[in-house]
Each structure stands twice: as structure tokens, then as C-alpha cells.
């Protein structure tokens, strides 16, 4: 079977795959970054004592964790964003919006668990010194929580990297999109799909390495 690999076709499409995997990486980095910000606010909101403050993040997290990402992508690209802007959004915009919102919901739970894993005495000590709630969060609780959050955050980034392949469905030119393109034009299957599988694997392994490195550097409290 491997003897029959069409190297010539692969060679032809490989530059597109490289372009696509860069797009995949870009979308992932941007969505994780936005997801961390969303997750921070939603996670903090979820541990508020005020039920009104809790309501919106609870609905947000519940919805995005309780529905398939694929459906969220379709909903955002074909329904929500067109309704807001009155015209079809660029796939890139929809892709980033969908992945960020999805990541934010999972990262909110990571923040919530991370913050709640810190001993109550830390917040009490900080408050007893006259620091405000947000100062205590920022200087005392979050720095400790983030160290504990590194492994689950790394997992989330890896999941997102892989799940970004779903964006091919809205024709976002990431690597899976180009693989489907090649498959459609050449009627080949092994060549495009095995190649991009290996490309994803390289990225996820690199990402896992990076997380391990960060953990070793910052992980001990």
C-alpha cells in the first residue's frame, strides 16, 4: 500500500498544507488567548456570592459545554454572526469566535477549580492585611491557581488545536480544509489525511512538551 503513495501529488499540495497548518496554529493561539480571558471572567463570576453575577457565566458555561462544538460553529457562522452583522462573516472571524467561546467555557471551569483549590486561609490572610478582594485575587490567589492550572490548560489547548479541524466545514482555510481539497481533486485519501494527521501529531506533541517545560519552570508552589 505505501509503495503506491503518490509522492508527486503530495509534493504539489504540501505548500498548501504548510499554509494550512500555520492557519491552524494561528487560530488555536488566538482562541486560547481569548478563551483564557473569557474563562478568567466567567470562572470568577461563577464563584461570586452574588447569584445575579453567577447567572450569566453559568448559562454561558452550561451552553458551550453542553452542546457540540460542531453545532456551535455552524450556529455562529450561519445564524448568529449574520444576524448581528447583516451579512455572512468571514470564516476566520466565525472560527475564532466559536473556538474562543468554546474554549472560554472550559477554561472557566479550569479557573474555578484552580481558584477553589487554593486554601481559604490565603484569601483571609490577604484580606486581613487590608488588600481588596481583587487585589487579593490578582496578587495572591491567581498566581498560585495558575500554576495548578497549567496541566488542564495545556490539555485544553491541545483539544482546541485538534478541534479546529472542524472549521473546515465552514471553509476556513486551515490544514484539514486543504486536505479535503486535495482529496476532492485527486481522489486520494491516504496521502492528504495521513499527512495532516502527522502534522497535527507533531504540533500536539510540541505543545505537550511546552506545557511540561512550563510546569517544571513554574509548577512548584
Amino acid at each position: 500500500m505505501f509503495a503506491d503513495i503518490r509522492w508527486d501529488a503530495l509534493q504539489e499540495y504540501f505548500p498548501l498544507f504548510l499554509k494550512g497548518i500555520l492557519m491552524t496554529a494561528e487560530i488555536t493561539v488566538i482562541s486560547v488567548a481569548i478563551g483564557v480571558v473569557l474563562g478568567l471572567f466567567a470562572g470568577m463570576g461563577r464563584i461570586s456570592h452574588n447569584p445575579i453575577v453567577r447567572l450569566i457565566p453559568n448559562i454561558y458555561v452550561g451552553f458551550f459545554r453542553g452542546t457540540p462544538l460542531f453545532v456551535q460553529i455552524l450556529l455562529i457562522h450561519f445564524a448568529v454572526l449574520p444576524a448581528i452583522f447583516g451579512k455572512s462573516p468571514a470564516a476566520m472571524v466565525s472560527g475564532i469566535v466559536a473556538l474562543s467561546l468554546n474554549a472560554g467555557a472550559y477554561i472557566a471551569e479550569i479557573f474555578r477549580a484552580g481558584i477553589q483549590s487554593i486554601d481559604r486561609g490565603q484569601m483571609e490572610a490577604a484580606r486581613s492585611l487590608g488588600l481588596s478582594y481583587s487585589q487579593s485575587m490578582f496578587h495572591i490567589i491567581l498566581p498560585q491557581a495558575v500554576r495548578r492550572m497549567l496541566p488542564p490548560l495545556g490539555n485544553e489547548a491541545i483539544m482546541l488545536l485538534k478541534d479546529s479541524s472542524l472549521l473546515a466545514a465552514i471553509s476556513l482555510p486551515e490544514v484539514t480544509y486543504y486536505a479535503k481539497l486535495m482529496a476532492g481533486k485527486t481522489y486520494l485519501a491516504w496521502e492528504p489525511y495521513l499527512t495532516i494527521a502527522l502534522m497535527y501529531l507533531v504540533l500536539t506533541l510540541l505543545l505537550a512538551r511546552l506545557v511540561k517545560f512550563l510546569e517544571r519552570k513554574y509548577g512548584t508552589v
Binding site: A125, S128, L129, G130, L131, H139
Partner: protein, 240 residues
């Protein structure tokens, strides 16, 4: 300095403080003793409102902190607290533990805050530990850092919740010595403690708490030598 009137505190349906009245005067050391579960920690934690106050008044330097509108952050800068389990910030060095609040709350500049912190470390006998992390210190050393951290805000009163209970016996002395020194310098202190020797020697007054009330209060000689309340007698006969 602190006046408590008819303080009630409930956790859900469990009433822990059932009407506490007392007065803490400037410069005095009040020791709070009593059986486990009697509400000593809860009482202490109401004095800087780490616990929400169910009803009653806790007046700290003319501010009733039971009032929901009271500026707690401002009050807390004047009321230091030392915890049983130290609660040092594990991700910060000893020096940073001490300088954080003066810089963030009092807006002291960094150099000044560090100079003060080093002076306080000298005072608690830990000049050589400024750059250590809390987990590199013994329990006794950590608690002395925690005292220095509280002192760095220049509080008018210090609250201690069983500051030596989590320590190995050989480290109790070094912490009590620091506290004695503070008392000698005129610091106002409220100390929840099981160290009856300390209460007797350093305390100006002793509160005996039981079942959510201050059952008896008086000078140490009277409480320890001639307790009036039957429960006080009972408790002391067990612990002395």
C-alpha cells in the same frame, strides 16, 4: 479601642455567638481561653469581619464594622491578624510576603517597604531569611514571619488565633517570646490561646468563653486563682 455589644453570629441554624459584650482598651493584652468549639475563633474573626456579623455591634476605632457600608479594607489595615496555620503566601519570598500589603495598600515605596521589612525581620530574629520561601522555614520561623507581615502595616491592634497550636513544642517558645516583646512595647493584642502560662504572665485580662458567651472575665490572677463561674473552674481544672 474595640467595643463589642450584643454580638451574635450564626452559621446557618447553628448559633455560635449568643450575645458577646466586651471592651478592648488601648495597650492591653486580652487572652481568650475556653473549650474547643466555644466560639473563640469566631469571636476573633468577627473583630475584623472575616466572618459576617449576624447581629450586634463591633465598634473598631469609632466605626461599627457590623454596618454593611463600613470600609472594611481601611479598618483591616489597622487590625492585624496572625493565624494558627500562618497562611504565608507560598509563592512569595519572606521579604515579599512582608512588603506586599504596605506597597499595595499603603502605597509605601518599595525601598522604604523593604527597609521596614528588614527591620521587622531583625526584630523577630530572622534577618537571614529575607530571601527564603515559606516552605524553607520551620513552623516557628513561619509564624514569626507572619507576625512581621502583620506588623508591617503598623496596625493599632493585633489579633492572634492560637498562634502556637500548629507548632512543634520546641518552637512554641520563640513565638511566644516575640509576642511578649510586643506586649512589652505596648501593642494592643487579643490572643486566643491554649497557653495558660502565657495568658497568666502576659495577659492584662482574660476572657473565658463557653457556649457562645464570655462567661467570665477578669485579671489573670483572679481567673486562674479564684474563678467565680463553675464552668471556668471546671475548664481550668482540666487544662492546668
Amino acid at each position: 479601642m474595640i467595643t463589642v455589644r450584643n454580638l451574635h453570629k450564626s452559621f446557618g441554624s447553628l448559633e455560635v455567638l449568643k450575645g458577646v459584650d466586651c471592651e478592648i482598651r488601648e495597650g492591653e493584652v486580652v487572652c481568650v481561653i475556653g473549650p474547643s468549639g466555644s466560639g473563640k475563633s469566631t469571636f476573633l474573626r468577627c473583630l475584623n469581619r472575616l466572618e459576617e456579623i449576624t447581629s450586634g455591634e463591633v465598634i473598631v476605632f469609632d466605626t461599627n464594622i457590623a454596618d454593611p457600608k463600613a470600609d472594611l479594607n481601611a479598618i483591616r489595615t489597622e487590625v492585624g491578624m496572625v493565624f494558627q496555620r500562618f497562611n504565608l503566601f507560598p509563592h512569595k519570598t519572606v521579604l515579599d510576603n512582608i512588603t506586599l500589603a504596605p506597597q499595595k495598600v499603603r502605597r509605601t515605596d518599595k525601598a522604604q517597604a523593604e527597609a521596614n521589612a528588614r527591620e521587622l525581620l531583625r526584630k523577630v530574629g530572622l534577618s537571614d531569611k529575607a530571601n527564603a520561601y515559606p516552605n524553607q522555614l520551620s513552623g516557628g520561623q513561619q509564624q514569626r514571619v507572619a507576625i512581621a507581615r502583620a506588623l508591617a502595616m503598623n496596625p493599632k491592634v493585633l489579633l492572634f488565633d492560637e498562634p502556637t497550636s500548629a507548632l512543634d513544642p520546641e518552637m512554641v517558645g520563640e513565638v511566644l517570646d516575640v509576642m511578649k516583646q510586643l506586649a512589652k512595647e505596648g501593642m494592643t493584642m487579643v490572643v486566643v490561646t491554649h497557653e495558660m502560662g502565657f495568658a497568666r504572665e502576659v495577659g492584662d485580662r482574660v476572657f473565658f468563653m463557653d457556649q457562645g458567651y464570655i462567661m467570665e472575665e477578669g485579671v489573670p490572677e483572679q481567673i486562674f486563682a479564684n474563678p467565680q463561674n463553675e464552668r471556668t473552674q471546671n475548664f481550668l481544672s482540666k487544662v492546668l
